[in-house]
Symmetry: C2
Subunit: 602 residues, 2 copies
Amino acid sequence: MAQVISDRRDIDFNLYEMFDIEALTAFDEFKDFDKKTFDMIINEAKKLAVKEMLPTYEDGDKIGVTYNGDGTVTTPDSFKKAHKLYIENEWTAPSSSEEWGGQGLPTTIGAASKEYFSGANWAMISYGSMGAGTGSMIEHFGTREQKDTYLKNLYTGKWGGTMLLTESDAGSELGRLTTTAVKNDDGTYSLSGGKIFITCGEHDLVDQIIHPVLARIEGEPEGIKGISIFIVPKYLVNKDGSLGERNDVFCTSVEHKHGIHGSATCTMALGSKNNCKGFLLGEENQGMKIMFRMMNGARMGTGLQALSYASTCYLYALNYARQRIQGKDLTDLGGPSVPIIQHPDVRRNLLTMKAYVEGMRSLIYFLFKNMDIARATDNEEDRAKANGLVELLTPIVKGYCAEVGYDVCVQAMQVYGGAGYCQDFPVEALTRDCKIVSIYEGTTGIQSMDLLARKVVMENGAIFKSYLKEMKIVISQAREIPSLVTLANDLDVSVDRMASLVMTMVKKMLSPEIKTGFAHSVPFLHIMGDVTMGWVHLWRAVVSTGKLENAKRKDVAFYQGQIKTAQFFITSMLPVTNGKIKSVETMCDAAVTMDDAAFGGL
Amino acid sequence: MAQVISDRRDIDFNLYEMFDIEALTAFDEFKDFDKKTFDMIINEAKKLAVKEMLPTYEDGDKIGVTYNGDGTVTTPDSFKKAHKLYIENEWTAPSSSEEWGGQGLPTTIGAASKEYFSGANWAMISYGSMGAGTGSMIEHFGTREQKDTYLKNLYTGKWGGTMLLTESDAGSELGRLTTTAVKNDDGTYSLSGGKIFITCGEHDLVDQIIHPVLARIEGEPEGIKGISIFIVPKYLVNKDGSLGERNDVFCTSVEHKHGIHGSATCTMALGSKNNCKGFLLGEENQGMKIMFRMMNGARMGTGLQALSYASTCYLYALNYARQRIQGKDLTDLGGPSVPIIQHPDVRRNLLTMKAYVEGMRSLIYFLFKNMDIARATDNEEDRAKANGLVELLTPIVKGYCAEVGYDVCVQAMQVYGGAGYCQDFPVEALTRDCKIVSIYEGTTGIQSMDLLARKVVMENGAIFKSYLKEMKIVISQAREIPSLVTLANDLDVSVDRMASLVMTMVKKMLSPEIKTGFAHSVPFLHIMGDVTMGWVHLWRAVVSTGKLENAKRKDVAFYQGQIKTAQFFITSMLPVTNGKIKSVETMCDAAVTMDDAAFGGL
């Protein structure tokens, strides 16, 4: 039977054949797990996602959430049971610490499971999952009392979490926020202000929601340096852990959006009755630093979200292409009509989608594996290296996967033709859903600036160099395999050109033409993403070539497919990347030097 | 005040400074017009579109059309008045022959006007405009009696038109259609079958709809060679022109779509009561040939539709970027927050959008100008050349503009950030609308096959060569201008590489590896589109450089903007095209040779 959401064979290939995730169980941190447990966990996730979450997807899109005018938000009925199963089966914080209610799983295994849930109905599962991010901040920066009060209920999904950052005049520029906090005599703070675009800000799936809120304590400096972060629970929590007084934080409306209709995107009012109580998390004026811990996790999660939409769309389109009869085979025009997968253009389209989906999967799992190493290892050098790679790759996972993930969804609609434009097939809604990924948690433009201004220059470029080294290792391995030498050489050229381009970019950014440098930051993000795709595809081809000789019959097509995909990506797509490199190298300044008026429209 | 929908200065630049449309008035065909009339017509279109059509856009998207269960379809209330004004002001067939109720305008002027209407509310105006396409077929292939019966009411918009081609198993492969026609003793035909995806198939804005229907006469051969085309009026027309008996052609449902919610996409049943009467148009088994006349017009119109969405989105985004304050200027981080148009990445994004919008406009106007020449000239050689260019460029106008037009819309959402994902701003709906353009009237894949298998090889490549010659003329002109020499040389390289690539492609398609050739047809379409953009931008720069010296103050920014845009496109974007050329040159066969099973998901 055709698979949906995610290709289990490819997940296993990543986990066990590329990244040797089983080796993680040698660490103390993961010693209670083994491959059998991992497999069982992913099986369970797949089963629950396909049987219980996927059937709620249409309700999420077509019914969506309803704001009731009284501060409450209703989710579709079918979400209730699915949410309950999600919580009961302990999927809300699979990789969080067991001490506080998480499952302690490697992040990589958590991610493999989450691919299924996100692809089935991201909007639905986020109500249960957001508490893990909120909890993570409290675990790392909260007092013992705060941990005792909130953490277990957040990790187990009994309570929901959010992140109250954005205001109508403070989106990409959080320093402009105007929500204020006044310290009370009892050490708590009174908050007042308004927030927008708050995912899961209010809903009917949990009794309690814990809001981390960015606000400026009265009298503290303007800009980001005067921002603190507060825990603002929907209900104050009594000493015995029971819910007390309703806090003065209310949803006043939900957005009507392009997609993710099942996700409540709330406008929140704090202190409209002058009675919003907040509890400082960490120290005063440390809000941005603390928030960024959660934000980084959110960005990686967003990359995974993009992969999930893309993977789901790819499998839908692939399945449709195998079944839909239309058109003659080009070499047998007098013959019968054939499934459209036999048409070269449809194949090119599907292979492009496959290359992106599988490439994203490897990139994301690679990042998560490094997170797992950083978490588990005692070796400081290994930890530093792993952490560095995670930091470097986060804007690529977020920014690049958002862009190419969306392209995959759009191309899935194209494979369906007219049917793809209709709401009868899920690809049209998934495409709308996927568009959010390039916008929230920092737009692609923001990611590209993070990559260029902060990440590639970290530790004088040492992290970037260790990333290049990872690539060169695979290139060397491929050069040992005659059938892959050409691909290895082609990739090597692109890697070297990219490395040299980084120098050009960095110089530009340190020059008076800094703006010209940043006018090429998104193209640069694409280049680094493309080259990364080339690298993981070559890696896949190296592994597959090695396995092919003794492969079981059912695996032969899979491994051959890996090699063909690498060939396709490096031969057909990397030349375009080289063109992008050439483009950025020229450092055209037209966008910067053009008069505002010359853009027209006046 | 900021312009909306379309940039009038750029329209005028195209009409009078690039394409000398005024010169058309020297032809007998257009002798009743002059520049003053043209200007007045476009002014009126703009006024009507902005004042009356644009305000109906939101209703179209949010209310949409309703199928009432009884064969009738209701459009939003606000459509009624706007439709009435559209008809009364004679906008339904501006370029159709005056003899039959059209306005006889040059197509180019009609297109300039239609940019405004389409950008304001394409779904609404199509109810009034579709009759022109139906009428065009009847004008060229109908009997005198058929013309007398239908034509005037179609061109004046009193009656609506459609095109009943697609069936659920016959989309891209029309030869599979199963709608049948049986000849009656009185020379009429009885039709039976079902059609899907019929734009404006049923609605409440007109009393009568004339359906051209593809069907197979009983006993005629399978495939496309046995297809005839019939006029199937919703109401039979009495001898005196009044409406008679209701014909047995009924709408049975409307599609719920990704976008264009205001457009009724109907499923139609013919002969469900065994009483559907059709009148043969032209001769038996000539249906495909006749239909293609309309289809070609529809494809050009679809390109214009893409331009309209993109232009509208660009101006919305540009206006937003000029007003939205967020973030510091990169060279003044301690200073005040600035409008986002000052951020280099936003500028790059806007300039990319501008380059595509204006490039599409020039490409489309160039095609329409050639249609006007072919229509007006007595010189056979000129006509043949103009017709050839129209034929060659139609799949590019349809296929390429659909792809890049959509990208522009998506990027407009990105400029708005989170706000762009919300339904409060029109860009999100316009983006959904625009997606249809790459799907209907032949998908991008179909356009690329038309371009490669039929168009570039027309007359042994002579048409393609005349298109290259047009490019070389502009390149020569640019080489005379010192500031443009580099751009001219860069473009020249791409033109030559594209020309050589065509040879490679054609050889491949005549070889046993024909499928490998077609696996690169869409990338080739993109290449030809990109190079065409480079050409029209260089042309714009040549004209603008000439004008700049004596330009009025308010025009200086416009002309400088043209030159900067050309610099940007040729320096920053054409290198990527060169990468695409390199990619296609390698003729990677992975997509073709890969096992079906290797695509995964099984």
